[in-house]
C-alpha cells in the first residue's frame, strides 16, 4: 500500500471514530473511565515500549521525532481516563498566598486582574476559579479587571463556573454588590499607574456599560487605598512585573500572583524581597491551591497527565544520554 493510501485510510478511521463518539455524546453518552487494572496495564505497556526503545537506541538506532511525539500525545491523553489521584505537597509560597486571603475580614475588597488570553487558560483558569471560589466562600467582595483584551471574557467564564455551584447559589451573590467585572482597558502598565489615582478614570463603565458610580461595590473605591488585597493572573506582558513595580512599589498594594510556569521563576526575586505575598506557579501551583481550598478542580485533574508527561520527557532524556555514552559519542552527536 502506498503512503498516500495509508494516510487516507488513517484519516478515514479517525473521522469514523470521532463521528461515533460525537453521536454517542449527543445522545447523552457518559465519559469513559478505565478500571485501575486497565490503567496499570496501559502504564505497563508504555514502560515496556520505552525499555524497548532504550534497547534499540543502545544498539545504535536513534528513534525519530515522530515517535517522541506519539509518546507525548499518549502520556498527556491517557491519564485523563485513569482513576488515580496523587498526593500533592504544598509549597510555602502557595500556602502563604492562601493564608493571606484567609486572614482578610469578611467584606474586604479583593481586586483580581485577568492578564492572560485563551492559550494560557489551561494553567491560569483553574487558579482563577478556585481563587474566586475562595473569595466568595469567605464573603470577600471581588472586583475584576483586565489588562489583556481577552481577560475579562476569561473572568466571566470563571464566574459562571463558580456561581453555578450549588454552594454558591445558596449565597445568592449579586452582580454589582458582591462582585463586579470592570472590563478591559488599553494602555498596559499606564492603566495601573493611572488607577493609582483613580479607578474610575480608567474604568468609567464596567464591561456591560453600567456607569462606575452606579455600581454599589465600587462606588466608594477611589484608588488602591480602598483595596484590601489584589491578585494578578498573568501570562506575560503586561502582567505581574508591572503590578509589582507600580501597584506594590508605588502604592503599597498587597499582591498575590498566579503565573504560568514559564513566568514564575522570575517572580521568586519579588517573593524573596517580600514584595508579594505568594505565588501560584503553573498547573502545579493551581493544584496545590485547589487542595488548600478543599476543591477538586481541573488543575488537580490535569496533574496526573502533567506528571506522566514529565516522566516521559525525563525518560527520553535518559534514553538520549544512555545512547550517547554507550552507542559511541560521535554517532550520537549527529543530528537524528
Amino acid at each position: 500500500m502506498s503512503t498516500k493510501a495509508k494516510e487516507i485510510l488513517a484519516i478515514t478511521i479517525i473521522v469514523i471514530f470521532c463521528l461515533i463518539f460525537y453521536i454517542r455524546k449527543v445522545n447523552g453518552g457518559e465519559g469513559i473511565l478505565f478500571s485501575s487494572l486497565v490503567a496499570w496495564l496501559v502504564i505497563g505497556a508504555m514502560v515496556l515500549s520505552l525499555v524497548w526503545i532504550l534497547i534499540l537506541t543502545i544498539r545504535g538506532r536513534l528513534i525519530s521525532r515522530r515517535v517522541v511525539f506519539i509518546y507525548v500525545g499518549i502520556a498527556l491523553a491517557l491519564p485523563l481516563f485513569m482513576p488515580f489521584t496523587q498526593r500533592i505537597p504544598i509549597s510555602p509560597e502557595v500556602r502563604a498566598l492562601y493564608n493571606s486571603v484567609e486572614t482578610l475580614k469578611p467584606g474586604s475588597k479583593v481586586l483580581i486582574s485577568f492578564d492572560f488570553d485563551p492559550p494560557s487558560a489551561p494553567e491560569l483558569q483553574p487558579m482563577a476559579e478556585s481563587f474566586i471560589r475562595l473569595c466568595f466562600e469567605r464573603d470577600l467582595k471581588v472586583i475584576i479587571m483586565g489588562l489583556w483584551p481577552q481577560g475579562p471574557q476569561q473572568a466571566n467564564m470563571a464566574l459562571e463556573k463558580v456561581l453555578s455551584d450549588e454552594k454558591m447559589k445558596v449565597k445568592n451573590l449579586q452582580y454589582g454588590e458582591d462582585y463586579v467585572n470592570l472590563g478591559f482597558q488599553t494602555g498596559n502598565e499606564f492603566v495601573i499607574q493611572r488607577m493609582g489615582s483613580s479607578f474610575e478614570s480608567m474604568f468609567p463603565t464596567d464591561y456591560r456599560g453600567t456607569a462606575y458610580d452606579s455600581l454599589p461595590l465600587v462606588r466608594n473605591v477611589k484608588n488602591f487605598s480602598n483595596i484590601d488585597y489584589s491578585f494578578n493572573l498573568s501570562a506575560g506582558f503586561p502582567g505581574s512585573v508591572e503590578w509589582v513595580q507600580i501597584a506594590v512599589d508605588r502604592y503599597g498594594v498587597q499582591l498575590g500572583l498566579g503565573n504560568t510556569a514559564v513566568q514564575a521563576p522570575q517572580m521568586y526575586t519579588y517573593l524573596n524581597a517580600g514584595q508579594i505575598t505568594g505565588i501560584l506557579g503553573g498547573m502545579n501551583g493551581g493544584a496545590e491551591f485547589e487542595f488548600l481550598c478543599k476543591y477538586k478542580g481541573k488543575a488537580t485533574k490535569f496533574m496526573l497527565s502533567q506528571s506522566f508527561a514529565h516522566m516521559i520527557v525525563i525518560a527520553f532524556i535518559i534514553i538520549g544520554n544512555v545512547a550517547f555514552f554507550l552507542g559511541g559519542r560521535k554517532s550520537a552527536l549527529k543530528k537524528s
Partner: protein, 216 residues
C-alpha cells in the same frame, strides 16, 4: 538631506526622552504616556501597509497561478471575511454574541491555542536530542533541569520521601531557583542593561544607522 534629517530626528528625540526621566515638570512628565499613545496610533496606520503587502503577495500568487495558489486565495478570503465583519460591527465588535466574537471563539482561539500547544511536543523532542552530557557545561544544564523538573511535580517528593522534611527534591528545586538561578539571571540582566544602554547610545549618536537605510 534625505539621510541627515532622519538622523537629526533620532538624535533629538532620543536625547529628549532620556532627559524627561529627570524632569518631573510638565510637559516632560507626560512624554512617555504620550509616546505610548502615539505609537499605538502609528501602529494602527502602519498595519494598512502590512495588510496591503499580504494581499498583494497573495494576489500575485493567485494571478500567476504559482504553486499552492489555492491557499493564497484562502488567505485573501479569510482576511476579507473577518475585516468586513469586524468593521461593519462597529466599536463593540468584541461583545459576546457578535459574529466577530463567533469567529474569535470557534476559529481564532482553536488555531492559536493549538499552535501554542504543539510546543509540548517540541519541548520533548528538543530534550531528547539536545540535553546530552556532551561536556561539563551541558551536564550542568542537564542536571539543573532534571532536579527542577522532578522537584516541581509531586512524583519528585515521592521519590525523595526517604529524606527528612526540608531536604526533599522540591526543597532542592526551590534552592536552585532561589540562589544559582537568581545569580545567573542577575548577571544576564545587568549585561542586557548595559547592552541596551550602549545600543541606544549608538543609535542616538547616529553611529548605528542601518534602520533608516543608513550606511556611510
Amino acid at each position: 538631506m534625505r539621510r541627515e534629517i532622519p538622523l537629526i530626528i533620532t538624535g533629538i528625540v532620543g536625547v529628549g526622552f532620556v532627559i524627561q526621566y529627570f524632569i518631573p515638570h510638565a510637559p516632560f512628565s507626560y512624554m512617555s504616556d504620550w509616546f505610548s499613545d502615539w505609537f499605538s496610533i502609528v501602529g494602527a496606520c502602519a498595519i494598512v501597509l502590512g495588510a496591503l503587502n499580504l494581499m498583494k503577495m497573495s494576489a500575485q500568487k493567485v494571478i500567476r497561478k504559482k504553486k499552492d495558489w489555492g491557499y493564497a486565495l484562502v488567505i485573501i478570503a479569510s482576511f476579507l471575511l473577518i475585516v468586513i465583519i469586524g468593521l461593519s460591527e462597529g466599536k463593540d465588535f468584541r461583545v459576546p454574541g457578535t459574529r466577530f466574537d463567533w469567529l474569535y471563539n470557534y476559529m481564532y482561539i482553536p488555531l492559536s491555542a493549538t499552535m501554542f500547544a504543539i510546543l509540548a511536543f517540541f519541548v520533548a523532542s528538543a530534550s531528547y536530542r539536545a540535553f546530552r552530557a556532551r561536556n561539563f557545561e551541558a551536564t550542568l544544564l542537564l542536571v539543573a533541569a532534571f532536579f527542577v523538573m522532578l522537584g516541581r511535580v509531586p512524583v519528585g517528593d515521592v521519590l525523595s520521601g526517604f529524606m527528612p522534611e526540608g531536604w526533599r527534591l522540591s526543597d532542592l528545586a526551590s534552592w536552585v531557583m532561589n540562589y544559582p538561578q537568581s545569580a545567573g539571571q542577575r548577571a544576564i540582566m545587568i549585561g542586557i542593561g548595559l547592552g541596551i544602554v550602549s545600543t541606544s547610545l549608538r543609535v542616538i549618536l547616529g553611529i548605528e544607522r542601518s534602520h533608516i537605510g543608513g550606511g556611510k
